[in-house]
Amino acid sequence: MTTSETAPPAPSSDAPPALELSGIDKWFGPVHANDHISFAVPKGSIHGIIGENGAGKSTLMSIVYGYYQADAGDILVGGKPVKITGPQNALSHGIGMVHQHFMLVEPFTVLENVILGAESGRLLAPSLEKARAELERLERDYSLEVDPDATIESLQVGLRQRVEILKALYRGADILILDEPTGVLTPQEVDQLFDILRALRDQGKTIILITHKLREIMALTDNVTVMRQGAVVANVKTAETSREQLAELMVGRSVLLRVDKTPAIPGAEVLALDNVSVKDGQGVRRVKGVSFDVRAGEILGIAGVSGNGQSELLEALAGIRPIESGTIRFKGTEIDATRMRDAREMRQMGLGHVPEDRQRMGLVVSFLANESSILGHHHDPKYTGKFLMRQKAIVEDVAEKMDRFDVRPSNPLLRTSSFSGGNQQKIVLVREMDQHPDLLLVGQPTRGVDIGAIEFIHKRLIAMRDEGKAVLLVSVELDEIMSLADRIIVMFDGNIVGELTQEEADERKLGLMMAGEQLGTAA
């Protein structure tokens, strides 16, 4: 880190910066979420904050708008140090937050949502009238047209976001923070949002945009701060940097935990997807017509920042979520994946699934370890007779598994919740891998796992692939993908933006793709 990279950009006028952070530090237990963050945001600018998952961006902004308190450091608004005790207090300093997950009351109208908490007086009618006039003024000034009497339920996502922005403006926000605002928008809605943000800036408002998408940074911002692993790695003027530079800074040159492995010998096709689209629970299309295949004896890695459709894709393949359209072929047979399938069916066909969120889905934390270890396989004849389950056999089997995978403590009778993250993950892995599936779906296998266990898990995945099985690995950790996968595809915004072999891949290329750049596009 050189000083020219980290010094805040010199203010263009003598006016103090709208917002300045100085030495902001925050710990969550052993995790150093924000490491002495310092930068300044000039008034009337659009400032971008870019970084991967876990870089600390959201935590930082939560401190700025008062949801959390920093452990150390100062916040200055308009040059004066302030103490921000909560969201209401932040608003009184002119800081308003537009959340990623909207805080709106669905059956209410736009007008009602805007005045909630900022009503003027006991009776609604006068409040609504006054607000309506003000709202119409705001809508005109900032091109934020939306029908004040429409219910939120009836509005498209892009319009709902406008209501969130209007809420902040109505309460007098001069500094607007937007957290990953484009995740749920269509491309047209994104462009409209950009126009609105530019209009706001031109009227003197200050915008802070948190994102992991390079296109947005380059298209919209005046300055950008790059964060990685809790610290600021760069503060630059957007005009003076490039996509490649930002991508490299974002992803970093960390030491790779390369696993020794022989080249892959891919065999027959095990899984093939053709133009598959998947919608999430809210009806938003998250996977947009992807096609790829996975062969026996290889590990296919899917890289990308979380939230770009990988989770929905994984659930669709595992049989937990129906697909919207497209075809899936598993071991040569076409599967009817448009209906809700039985995960048990998929297992019987030879699929293993290590879910991304082991606590929510892969285990039952209140169960004993041996009970969690048979989840999904509890009909297996070696675990259960016609009526009774073979408790002794289960405990013995699980104890043996735990030994083999070095789960500590290797006691099947302990509650699942008392195992550390790494050991819990090993329990899930050995459970799925021991069924010798032809295809193993793995999501975030080393999230929250200690170094020793990471190495162990990686070795096991390679071993599976050497036995001639197929592995589909989804991970947000670039190191992991680069060291394990034989082929890497990158997902961004529901699409596959590129495919690389292990030899071809490096941080720069992958970083670019993860941030939305297609390979081969001009710099």
Partner: protein, 375 residues
Amino acid sequence: MSTTAPTQVPRWVTHVLVPISNLVVAFIIAGIIIALIGEDPWQAMKLLILGAFGATDLIGFTLYYTTNFMFTGLAVAIAFHCGLFNIGGEGQAYVGGLGVGLVALYFGGLPAPIVIVLAILASMLFGAAWAFIPGYLQAKRGSHVVITTIMFNFLAAALMTYLLVEVLIEPGQQAPRTAEFASNTWLPYIHDIIRGLGIPFGQSSLNLSFVVAIVASVLVWVFIWHTRWGYEIRTVGANQAAAIYAGISPSRNIILAMMISGGLAGMVGINEIIGVHHRIILDFTAGFGFVGIAVALMGRNHPLGIFFAALLFGMLYQGGSELSFDIPTITRDMVVVIQGLVILFSGAMEHVFRPHIVNLYLRIVGRRMAAEPAE
């Protein structure tokens, strides 16, 4: 930073000490109420325990009540394991009794063991049927099982009243109840069995259904923790996302759990109808269904805990009954008050005291460890 104080509390603190404290608080408040009405709580407690356990016939009555509470407690517990709150035990028990009574009335000619087995099956079947609709509506249409089971309690009362007044009433009689059943449908009384062995034993309502209840407890224990259907039910109750991940169907298990729950509650009919009254009478369930909720909560939804909790309430019911002879101001209603307090403190407010108890434990243990000489 001191490393002597432990950060993890042992299981016995959270699983035994906290529940017992909740119980103690409930009883202390009950004692206060007794004092409020001008009686001596300690005297009352003494008379209560004596009234429940002081003689063989009294013990018999206590266990007779315990039998009912075991059935309804098991019923509530198994539904809880699937994440469901079955408040319909009252109605399911009522309808279960109908099944028992119908078998006794129309199949009374068959040899005793066959009738009794048929009656047991009928009680389970009828009780399960009454719980089926609420279970189905919850599983397939998302109708809240709490509201539907409350409604079904009232529907059961209306149905049974109608049947007893218009359809099944003993011909030529005024009272809304059926004719008395043939004697070979009567479950043997326990005191008769014991006396038959040459041991003197006081007469009470305690009958063979007590044994059925114990068998049922064991079977429920086996089912929940030693079969794959019990495993699936528990998974659905603990974590629906994990259940779906594992290929377990939440709706199927919800319906199954409710039906088993209703069947267990229905078995109250065995005790009341062919064990004690030998005819179907109005309102024989007398609030037993609701006691089941207290019993399940106190017993932490485990058959062993349920047995002791049922025994406690059996003691309260029987002891309370005797108590009201000596202290006329304390009636069965006081037992209901205790019931409500138990549900409040062991159920709704079960976590209120936990942090304080845990802190107390940590302080005591920390102090003791700090007092040990350093190495």
